[in-house]
């Protein structure tokens, strides 16, 4: 059991290095990657935007309820913006991305393997990793930071809707306290770095599980499940590590 896990880990590392070394095709024939950005990014827009809006609205309601006890409801903007930009934006967008796009990538590559399309490509001297896997990997890696930024922006808009429009927190204080407290380098850039790391992790797990799946109907379904479970766990674990590195160094 342990041997199998370590074996797979080693294979995954070799797969990752091979993937990076053979990404030339995906970047030179950028059309291939654009098509995957469409499937991974554009088609995930609705779920990301709607979830972001609702997460922001809930943050607005809960944050106001707690903050007004201490008479500091003007800090609502700070609370909503910091929790979204630092944590919830990258993490929740990453989890949604893993279940929406990661599972689709695994199922697609796994089914290609099960129907022997990948073997057929090899027969035609086309490298399936360069032609099929790398565009999906880069499409996911490029989409993820944009999706996380959209999630955060939409969430802040949701917090604004609930806090300012619905409850009536002062609009000037909402934005000015937010701008005073949110730092571009410490908060926003670190959030973007987090989302890039999550994008690499989720997409790598998705393409690897698809490529390594047992080529049967059951194997593909198992690989899809494993993608969602492993990448969700990877996001949460990586988030802890990254937060520990980024936000505690200053103190």
């Amino acid at each position: 059991m342990v041997t199998t896990t370590v074996w797979r880990l080693g294979y995954a590392s070799r797969f990752f290095v091979y993937l990076l070394a053979h990404s030339g095709t995906a970047l030179r024939r950028f059309r291939l990657t654009v098509r995957e950005i469409y499937f991974a990014g554009v088609l995930s827009l609705i779920i990301i935007l709607v979830s972001g809006l609702f997460v922001g609205m809930v943050l607005g309601l809960q944050g106001y309820d707690t903050l007004q006890r201490y008479g500091s409801s003007e800090a609502l903007g700070v609370l909503v913006a910091l929790s979204l930009v630092r944590e919830l934006g990258p993490v929740v967008a990453g989890l949604l991305f893993a279940s929406r796009a990661g599972s689709a990538i695994t199922a697609e590559i796994g089914l290609m393997k099960a129907t022997e399309q990948l073997s057929a490509m090899e027969m035609m001297a086309v490298d399936p990793i360069a032609r099929v896997v790398a565009p999906r990997f880069w499409g996911g890696v490029l989409s993820m930071p944009l999706l996380a930024a959209l999630f955060s922006a939409m969430g802040i808009f949701g917090g604004y809707l609930v806090g300012v429009v619905l409850i009536g927190v002062d609009e000037g204080a909402f934005w000015s306290q937010m701008q005073a407290a949110v730092d571009v380098r410490n908060d926003i850039l670190n959030g973007v770095i987090k989302s890039v790391v999550f994008g690499v992790a989720v997409t790598l797990i998705a393409v690897f599980e698809g490529y390594d799946s047992v080529p049967t109907a059951e194997g593909v379904s198992r690989a899809t499940t494993r993608t969602v479970v492993t990448s969700s766990l990877a996001i949460l674990a990586l988030d802890f590590v990254l937060t520990a590195l980024m936000f505690t160094g200053g103190n």
Partner: protein
């Protein structure tokens, strides 16, 4: 193939994604207030800086005129050395006083500048001579207790 429609959608996606990043940087963060305007450096030494942090605001009359760029400890005079970056559109006299103040009762600490009356203005690399340290609550309480004890002693001695 409907490649062109896919290109269009990806273009829209990338555009609004970058737009969201720009919104976060400009409207949510403080990139806009990071003016590329010139700044000049001024040193100030304090006996105690309390909870002052790097990038804390430097205010004069309540207006942010600069930021704390660096905090260090001088191993010879046992003082805290702070480096302030002040926007060069704001000129201060050489005898300006620097105080460490707290915004609100429990707020963050910042440096307040009170302009003096000297005719010469501060130049890059000069030092603020007149400084006032942060108020440390424990010292304040112990001073209060000592003065109370002294009052009690006087009252007994007077009898």
């Amino acid at each position: 193939m409907n490649r062109s429609t896919i290109d269009l959608w990806v273009g829209v996606f990338v555009a609004i994604g970058l737009g969201a990043l720009l919104f976060l940087a400009l409207k949510v963060g403080n990139l806009a207030s990071f003016s590329t305007a010139e700044t000049y450096r001024v040193d100030a030494r304090f006996a105690n800086i309390g909870g002052l942090k790097v990038r804390a605001p430097v205010k004069s009359a309540g207006v942010v005129v600069g930021r704390v760029a660096d905090i260090a400890f001088d191993n010879e005079s046992y003082e805290a050395v702070t480096v302030l970056r002040i926007d060069s559109q704001y000129k201060f006299p050489r005898d300006t006083a620097a105080k460490i103040l707290t915004s609100g009762l429990l707020g963050d600490q910042y440096i307040g500048l009170e302009a003096g009356a000297d005719a010469r203005i501060l130049k890059d690399g000069e030092r603020l001579r007149i400084t006032q340290s942060a108020v440390v609550l424990e010292n304040l309480i112990s001073q209060f207790l000592f003065s109370k004890a002294a009052e009690g002693g006087d009252a007994k001695g007077g009898k």
